[in-house]
Amino acid sequence: MIENAFDISKELLQIEAQDSKIKGYRFVTATCVDLGNGTFDVLYHFDKNLELKNYRVNVKKEEELTSISNIYFSAILVENEMKELFGLNITNIAIDYGGHMLLSDDDLNSPMAKQQIVIEERKGDK
């Protein structure tokens, strides 16, 4: 088990991120895990004095998750990455690449997600 991991609702994420910043935590990264049941676990990792604190947010695939890049600018890259590779619907990212930070138009929509790829939906593939 991960130490210092707290399950929170997506509504609380902004509040906890703000609170972490006030308390002197730095943003480390976020991890998206596709649970295979139509939901994602998104873990936000913060660090203070080399001790990690982790917030776990469970979101449904179609749900929106508000970016924390307005609080921690350094979250922009990982939030764009999760948005592209998992199809996670993260909104209000400070610099939103619109799905083209890593992927081109010819790529799969969300290659890291556990999903059946319908061949007709793959652009550029006959």
Partner: protein
């Protein structure tokens, strides 16, 4: 004044790997920088889901050549933690020795590239000549020059003979002596200082707020080095994080220079204390549950998130590499800088794009 957009990269003489920056300029001064990555994305995290957890060591080693040992170390330590595997003491020390050799090789590579970036070709040549000695000793002790593949879940795959350990000490001391001569050029040469001092200043608070790691953070006065937590055998060795306070390109260069000496010292300490015994233990069962493993790479702290499901395959392997954490600080440093300083500024974060994109 009108603004001009200048594309920097993805192919540029100063960049060993492709990264693109869209630089919004006012005259010669940068007002905004927007990065674009994705040129060498390989989907390695996804690939690990299709391989056995023991095979993943070979994949994570190939995330990046320059810190391949530490990638494997972070992964193995995570799996060992998940499976409650006690690694033999000798393996813990061997991991430190090879990791510090890799740190020396990485910092020498970077110092050479920096010298090349500001046009000091003979300095570049001298530093890389030194680097060859590390590459040779890695080949002698592990059979490979870059991806030496010594770590395995449960310990190490290779041991070092007493003769090899003595040679590692001799070679690392030789490198230290050579670098002490070359250090004078970095510290005192007018041209070098002119290109580095006061350029790309990142103050301590900003570095912390933007999540800087490794020499980027330590060059801004943040005393943060994950080795101080004592993983592997670091807890039994005596060292302090190398810190500089000015936060400019010069400070980051000095941190890396002094970390070479620190690595030589750590190698000497580790070889002095390495116990006899086994180098690995058998691994039974499969990983189950979640774990986070962190290791200090040459560029800063790497984070591995591992999730096992009780089978031979992992559910998820996620890597946050140091360059991924340092790119936002680069975006903070670039506005206000001169266009001519961009190559040196990019280099001082020691970017590893293959790490960043995995």
């Amino acid at each position: 004044m009108g603004k001009t957009v200048i594309p920097f990269g993805p192919q540029h003489p100063v960049l060993p790997e492709p990264v693109h920056l869209k630089l919004v300029m006012e005259d010669e001064v940068i007002v905004e920088a927007i990065p674009a990555i994705g040129y060498v994305h390989r989907g390695l995290e996804k690939l690990t889901e299709t391989k056995e957890f023991t095979q993943n060591v070979y994949i994570v080693e190939r995330i990046c050549g320059i810190c391949s040992v530490m990638h494997a170390q972070a992964y193995c330590q995570g799996i060992e933690n998940l499976m409650n595997i006690q690694v033999p003491d000798r393996a813990r020390y061997l991991r430190v020795i090879w990791a510090e050799l890799h740190r020396i090789h990485s910092h020498l590579l970077w110092l050479g590239l920096l010298a090349d970036a500001f046009g000091f070709e003979s300095l570049f040549m001298q530093i890389w000549r030194n680097r060859e000695k590390v590459m040779d000793i890695m080949e002698e002790t592990a059979g490979g020059r870059v991806i030496i593949s010594v770590n395995t879940v449960g310990g190490t795959r290779r041991d070092m003979t007493p003769e090899a350990l003595r040679k590692v000490i001799a070679v690392s001391e030789e490198i230290k002596e050579d670098m002490m001569k070359l250090e004078k050029v970095f510290m005192a040469d007018y041209t070098v200082k002119h290109r580095l001092v006061g350029v790309g200043v990142l103050d301590k608070n900003t570095a912390y707020e933007f999540g800087a790691v490794g020499p980027m953070a330590r060059g801004s006065g943040i005393s943060q080095d994950f080795r101080t937590t004592g993983y592997a055998a670091y807890g039994e060795l005596d060292f302090e994080p190398v810190i500089e306070k000015d936060g400019d390109c010069y400070a980051r260069t000095l941190v890396r220079l002094r970390e070479i000496y620190q690595s030589v010292d750590l190698i000497n300490q580790a070889i002095g204390k390495i116990p006899e015994g086994e180098i690995s233990v058998p691994v039974k069962g499969f990983p189950n549950g979640e774990v986070i493993s962190r290791v200090e790479q040459p560029r800063g702290e790497v984070l591995y998130y591992l999730k096992g499901n009780g089978t031979k395959n992992l559910d998820r392997l996620r890597v946050r590499t140091p360059t991924f954490a340092n790119i936002p600080t680069l975006l903070k440093m670039l506005p206000g800088s001169q266009l001519a300083d961009v190559p040196v500024l990019i280099l001082t974060i020691d970017p590893c794009i293959s790490c960043t994109e995995r």
